[in-house]
Symmetry: C2
Subunit: 378 residues, 2 copies
C-alpha cells in the first residue's frame, strides 16, 4: 500500500529533453498567478474552449492571462466529440490567421480531451508549431489525454485519423474544475485511473480500492494523488516509447474491447471511459482464461469497476460484429486481434487471442438485453 497523500497540490515533471514540461496538479490553480508564471512570452494568447466549459472558466483564465499577454482571444467551439473535426480545426486556424498571430502565439486548451486534442493539433501545425498549454477540466483529460503528446481530430472514416505527436509546454490540472463535472464523466475518468493499477502498479490498485469513496466524493487530496500517480505512470510508459512503437500499447488495456463497444453502439452512447471500464473486465477475463491471472482477479476488477459507477457487462452486439470491429481497429496492423492482457499484477503483455476464447469471454460477461439503436446525431 502506498503512502497516503499529504496535500492537494503537486507537480509531475515530464522529462523529454528540450521538450520537457510540468504537469501542475492542485485545487485553486486556475486563479493563482503563480500557475501561469514562466510561460513563453508572446504578443498574443488564444484560448480554445467549448460552450459548456467556457461559461464556467473562460473569464477567470482570461483574467490571469491578461497580465501576461497583450491580447487574449478565445475561440468557443460547440461541446462534443462530434465537433472534434476539420471544421472546428479550421475555425481555430482561421482565427489565428485572421489576427496575424505569429509563431510565438501561445494556445491554451481549456476543456476536456476533445478540446485538448483539437487545440493541441492546431498548435502543432500552425506555422509548423506554436507553444500550447493544456488546462484539462475533466478527470479523463487530467489523467490521460493531457500526458503523452497525442493530438488529433476525427475524420468521417475514423477517430483520431489526422493528428500529430506534439508536446505542451505546461499542463495545469485544477482539481476544482472537477466539481462541475457530471458524475457520469467522473466515473469515466476513474476507468483510466483504475487501468494504471493492473498494467503497472499493484500498490496503486490497492490504493484506489481503499480510496474509491473519497475519489467519488471528489476529495481533493485523494484526487491529487490519483491524478499524480496516473500521470507518473503514463509519463513513465510514454517516456520510453514516445511514438507508440511498442511498450506504449499497454496503455490500451481494456481499449480493444472498449473501442469495439463504442463503435458498435454508435459513438456517444457510452462514454469512452465507460467502454474502457467494461473492456477491462473482458480483458481481465481473457487474462484469466489464458492462465495469466487467477479467476479472483476478474472478480476483483469487476467489483472495483462497478463501484466506480461503470458498466461491467458487454452489450449484445453479437460475436461476428465484435470480431469485425476489433479486426479493423487501427492498432491491429497485420489483421490479428491482439489484446493487452495482465500477467501478474502490475505487468501487462500483448497477446494474440484465438476467436473461441473471445467468444467465451464475451458470453461470460454479456448483458443479454437488446442493444438500443444508435443515438441520432445532433
Amino acid at each position: 500500500m502506498s503512502v497516503s497523500p499529504l496535500d492537494s497540490s503537486t507537480v509531475v515533471p515530464i522529462a523529454l529533453g528540450d521538450r520537457s514540461y510540468e504537469i501542475r496538479i492542485g485545487a485553486g490553480l486556475l486563479d493563482h498567478a503563480a500557475t501561469w508564471q514562466d510561460l513563453p512570452r508572446a504578443a498574443t494568447a488564444l484560448i480554445v474552449t467549448n460552450d459548456r466549459v467556457g461559461p464556467l472558466y473562460l473569464d477567470r483564465l482570461r483574467t490571469q492571462l491578461a497580465s501576461r499577454y497583450g491580447r487574449v482571444d478565445a475561440v468557443v467551439l460547440p461541446d462534443g466529440e462530434q465537433h472534434k473535426n476539420s471544421d472546428s480545426l479550421d475555425r481555430v486556424i482561421d482565427h489565428l490567421l485572421a489576427h496575424a498571430a505569429d509563431r510565438k502565439t501561445v494556445l491554451f486548451a481549456l476543456g476536456g480531451g476533445v478540446i485538448g486534442d483539437l487545440a493541441g493539433f492546431a498548435a502543432a501545425i500552425y506555422m509548423r508549431g506554436v507553444p500550447f498549454v493544456q488546462v484539462p477540466t475533466t478527470l479523463l483529460a487530467q489523467v490521460d489525454s493531457s500526458v503523452g503528446g497525442k493530438t488529433a481530430i476525427n475524420h468521417p472514416r475514423g477517430k483520431n485519423m489526422i493528428g500529430a505527436f506534439y508536446q505542451p509546454v505546461r499542463v495545469v490540472a485544477d482539481l476544482d474544475t472537477l466539481d462541475t463535472l457530471p458524475a457520469r464523466e467522473l466515473s469515466a475518468g476513474l476507468a483510466e485511473i483504475i487501468k494504471y493499477g493492473p498494467i503497472a502498479d499493484a500498490d496503486f490498485l490497492d490504493w484506489i480500492e481503499a480510496h474509491l469513496d473519497a475519489l467519488l466524493a471528489r476529495d481533493k487530496a485523494a484526487l491529487a494523488y490519483a491524478v499524480k500517480r496516473s500521470c507518473e505512470i503514463k509519463a513513465w510508459v510514454v517516456g520510453q516509447d514516445e511514438r507508440e512503437s511498442g511498450l506504449r500499447a499497454i496503455l490500451n488495456f481494456g481499449h480493444t474491447f472498449g473501442h469495439a463497444i463504442e463503435t458498435g453502439l454508435g459513438y456517444g452512447a457510452w462514454l469512452h471511459g465507460e467502454a474502457v471500464g467494461c473492456g477491462m473486465v473482458l480483458a481481465s477475463e481473457l487474462s484469466a482464461r489464458l492462465g495469466l491471472m487467477p479467476a479472483s482477479f476478474v472478480d476483483r476488477m469487476s467489483r472495483l469497476i462497478e463501484r466506480a459507477g461503470l458498466p461491467t457487462r458487454a452489450p449484445a452486439l453479437g460475436l461476428p460484429r465484435y470480431l469485425e470491429l476489433m479486426q479493423v481497429d487501427k492498432k491491429n496492423e497485420d489483421g490479428d486481434i491482439r489484446f493487452v492482457l495482465i500477467e501478474g499484477l502490475g505487468k501487462a503483455v500483448m497477446r494474440a487471442v484465438p476467436h473461441d476464447l473471445i467468444a467465451d469471454t464475451l458470453a461470460a460477461h454479456l448483458d443479454p438485453s437488446p442493444v438500443p439503436p444508435p443515438p441520432t446525431a445532433s
Copy 2:
C-alpha cells in the same frame, strides 16, 4: 579550394538520433534496386506526384517499389505552387483513408518542393505520422526542401502557414531527373547552392565559381558535388537548430528581399530561386553598406548570380511596398526588419537595418522598368 568531385554518386548521412536518415545522391538511382533497399516494410506504398513529373518517372518508381510493397498506389496532383493547398492535401489523406492505409504505409514524394512539402505534411499528420521518402526531381528540392524536415501547405492568407517539422526516412536525389528540368528551374536551384557559399563556406563559393559552367551543362559529377556540399551545409545548420529558433535563420540569406519580390510581383511571376538570387545581391549590398564586407563582394555575388541565369536587379515595387512586405514577413516577430547579412566570407549574421539603408540598397540595384501586372491565376 575544395577537392574536386571524383565520382557522381555519394551519400550524406543526416544524424538526428532515432530520426536519422540518408540522402543518396547520384545518377541512375531511380532504377537501381539497391536504392530502395532497407526501407520500412509495409503492405502499401503511396506515391504522390504531379502531372508534369508523373508521366516521366512514376512508372519507373512504381516498378522498383512493386517488389517491396504488396500494393503501390499513386495520387497525381496538378503541377504548381497554387496546388500546394488543403484541397490537394485532402486528396492524399482521402486516398489513404479510402484504402484503409495503416500506420506503416510509406509515402513517396516524387517531384519538386511543392510535392515534397505537401506529401511530407500528409505523412506527418496521417495517423499521427507514417514514414515518407523524398524523391526530389528539381535541383531546388534536392539542395533545399528535401533537407531539414520542413513540411507545409499554403493558405489563402500566406505561404507555408500550416505545416510540421517531420523528417523523411530517406532522400533519393537522382541527378538524371535534372536532365528534364527547364533551364529556368535549373538556375533557380543554383541560387540556393550559391547561397551556401557566403553563409558558411568560402571554399565552396570558389568551387561554384570554377564549376558554374559544368553545373549549367548538367555535368553529373559537378552536380553530385554541389548537391552533396549543399546538403552537408544545410544539414550542419539544421542539426544545430532543428526547429528554427536561431542559427537556422542564416539559411534565409537573400530571402527577406526575395519573399518581398515574390509577393510584390504576385506568386509565380518570378521563381522562388530567382527572387532569392536577386535578394542575395541586395543583402550583399546591405552587408557592404554596413561595413561588414568590401564593395568588391557585391560585384562578385552579382556576377556569379548573373552567370547562373538569375535576375540581379530589383523590380520597381516602390520603397513603401518593399517595407510593408518585409515587415509582415513571418520571420519578423517583433515588427523590426531584420536581415541575414554576411560578415566575412562564410559567416552570416542577423542585423536589424534602418529604413534609409534599405532605400539606398534598393536604389543601387533597381530595375527601372515598370512592373508588369501580376499573372492571372490559372
